[in-house]
Amino acid sequence: MTMAFTRLAVAFACVLGLSLPGAAGPLDDYYLAAFNEQGGSALEKAILSTTAETAGAIQCGTPLKHELSRDWSLLEPATRKTLAKQLAAPALTGEATLLSSGGHFLIHYATSGSDVPTPAAGYTVPSWVQAVADTFESVYATYMTADGYHPPPGTPYHIYLRSLAALKIYGQTTSTSSSPSPGFTNAYGSYIEIDKDFTSPIFHPQVYTPLQSLQITAAHEYHHAIQYGYNFFFDIWYAEATSTWYEDEVYDNVNQLYAYLDAALLNTNLSIDIAPSITTGGGYGRWLFNRHLAEAHGGQSIVRSFWERLATTAPAGQGDIPMIPIIDTLLQASGSSLSTDFLGYAGKLYTGAWSTHQPEIPLIPAAAMTGTFTSYPVAGTSTPSPSVILPHYSFAFFRMVPSATSPATLTITLTADTGISAVAFSKTGNSINSFTAGVGSSQITIPGFGATTEVVLLLANTTGSDNLFAGFSSDGSQVTRTPSGGGGGGGGGCFIATAAYGSYLHPQVRVLREFRDHYLLTNAPGRAFVEFYYRFSPPLADFIARHETLRWAARLILTPVVMAVAHPAAMAAALMMAAGLYIPLRRRHRTMVQTV
């Protein structure tokens, strides 16, 4: 009797044990299949799959996501991890999907509401969505097959077509959840949203066809997806520099990325790793540095090697991993260094000695000159000042044009902190020769100056140290750092104004700089004020630069200051008029008070 009872209990336990996974499984399988995330081997998929997804299959995703949210707590942890990105992803009205021909991408698009694509002439909605799928497959082939990148987590990868023009966005890539794999400890999944059709005027469809905008956006955003897959903690400036550079590597004929160079080459005195900004040229405008590296180191693999090294680099805490040390380490391993390559890159911006994409060289704007000199000698009292303060990995150009007062041989005497590199370029017609100071010397000699078109001096901070000083003269005198630490008219300084106006070459900033040089630095109280200002303003300027509202407010506050400096008589007249209005009002007020 006892034996029979025991057997019955064991049998019951076995049945219960076997049925539990079955009870837990169907809901998980339902959602995994619904979101096309069914795991398991190819054989399992073949056996379990009853309805293979085909191109053009339509699913309604939004209610499904609501159901998923409702049933979340009932799912297995592994299922939750896989489907976490579905809860974060955007919901489209009447969502339909198209699986790309290679099976690597699932394109989500709306069939009603504001996100419905309204493609350009020549396309229907299905043919445009197909073009999106084909474009991403083409980008995939370049990155994975041709360039050897590791694909991001998640197959198929999810692409959402949304109305982003009103937000002034081409596309955006957002991380989802941690998805580690061997060699990629900090890998994260992601999804991409791109504009639904790129027909809005903000994308300049008359200049770049919607297909071209789609192409560069796909190349750009999918590299971000790869970046998340290498290491979530990537450095944002280099992520944008790489994604932008790849736009032209994948689609060489579009050339929209050259538009980001204007701001970058206007602000060469800002560090290479400043935050992405179309105002300062940070991030996007730094793509050209990757072209230099690819040219100098045998192709795109040098850039890929940085990302591969990042994949195995652990973050310190929860912050992003600085890319500059990684780049320097790998360049040194290849027999160069970041210092050498940065100087080489800066020099190319003047010489134009690019070895690839040569038909596009005219699209690279000329780097801004910090100062131009036509009267000689150039010395510490010259205007603009022949000196500059440079933060880490930044540079400045100074132009010297021969004139009646110029010497036959131009001898540039440098006074610079350790870490400043200097190269002089002598241009005659289309020929450019470069000159550097001899070992142990601080002088660069350029013979035949009078016969040249111009001589351009490149001063570069090729180190990770900030605020290095560099000055020069043409008469052998020493141009030293001012008491304020500022570099005079041509150099840095006016930190808040620079942050407010976006460039130290902005005309308003130039007005303030000239006022400082001519009226403040020429007397003791003025120098004391400048010293005080330079000591305390950099952190404030940095804060202002990162907030558009504060930049606007700073410009508002600076406007009367600039007006007073630029047009003192007019400003004085305006103040007198204001006082003239105020005093009678005040008297009238007093009279009324006394009467009461």
């Binding site: 979340w72 957002t174 991380s175 959840s177 944008e240 935050a275 991030g283």
Partner: protein
């Protein structure tokens, strides 16, 4: 004579105002302290843009509230403290306009662990904020590489800004 009286009156007024300012600067124990999220961390004071802030007070459960909202004090159980914070997605870039900033991570389930055990799971509100009342001790908030360590002390509130994602805007 009148001038002397006016001078004395002015001095008295100044002394009174100064004394009142000093007295006001000494925050009584029962007052709330406010902290707002500035995009990367919590800083003291209310946000200038009128966004929500976390109101904190010793021995009392923290409250996420809009400026000016009436806050009710609920005592923390003996031996417990609180962890309050925000889950956010860092936003960077912007090809056509500035895209830097952050997005709140609403309705996000956030496990809080001690050792290998999940002590509780909280869900962020529509603005990404969360509050958990826990026995004093050390905890891990979140999971994976972005999880953060936090120490909870009795009657105290620990604030934490948890980056849970990153968005590259172009």
């Amino acid at each position: 004579m009148a001038a002397g009286f006016n001078l004395i009156l002015a001095v008295v007024v100044c002394l009174f105002l100064g004394g009142a300012a000093v007295a006001a600067a000494k925050r009584p124990n029962g007052a709330w302290n406010y902290y707002h999220f500035d995009g990367s961390r919590f800083v003291a004071g209310l946000a200038a843009d009128g966004k929500r802030a976390v109101a904190v007070r010793d021995g009392v459960r923290p409250v996420v509230a809009l400026p000016g909202a009436r806050i009710e004090a609920v005592a923390l159980p003996a031996g417990t403290g609180a962890v309050a914070g925000i889950c956010y997605i860092q936003s960077a870039g912007g090809k056509l306009t500035g895209g830097a900033g952050y997005l709140a991570a609403p309705a996000m389930r956030l496990p809080i662990s001690s050792g290998t055990n999940v002590v509780t799971t909280v869900q962020t509100d529509e603005q990404g904020y969360f509050i958990a009342v826990l026995p004093a001790g050390r905890y891990v908030v979140g999971e994976g590489p972005l999880a953060r360590n936090v120490r909870v002390e009795s009657d105290q509130t620990s604030l934490i800004a948890l980056r849970v994602g990153k968005r590259m805007v172009d």
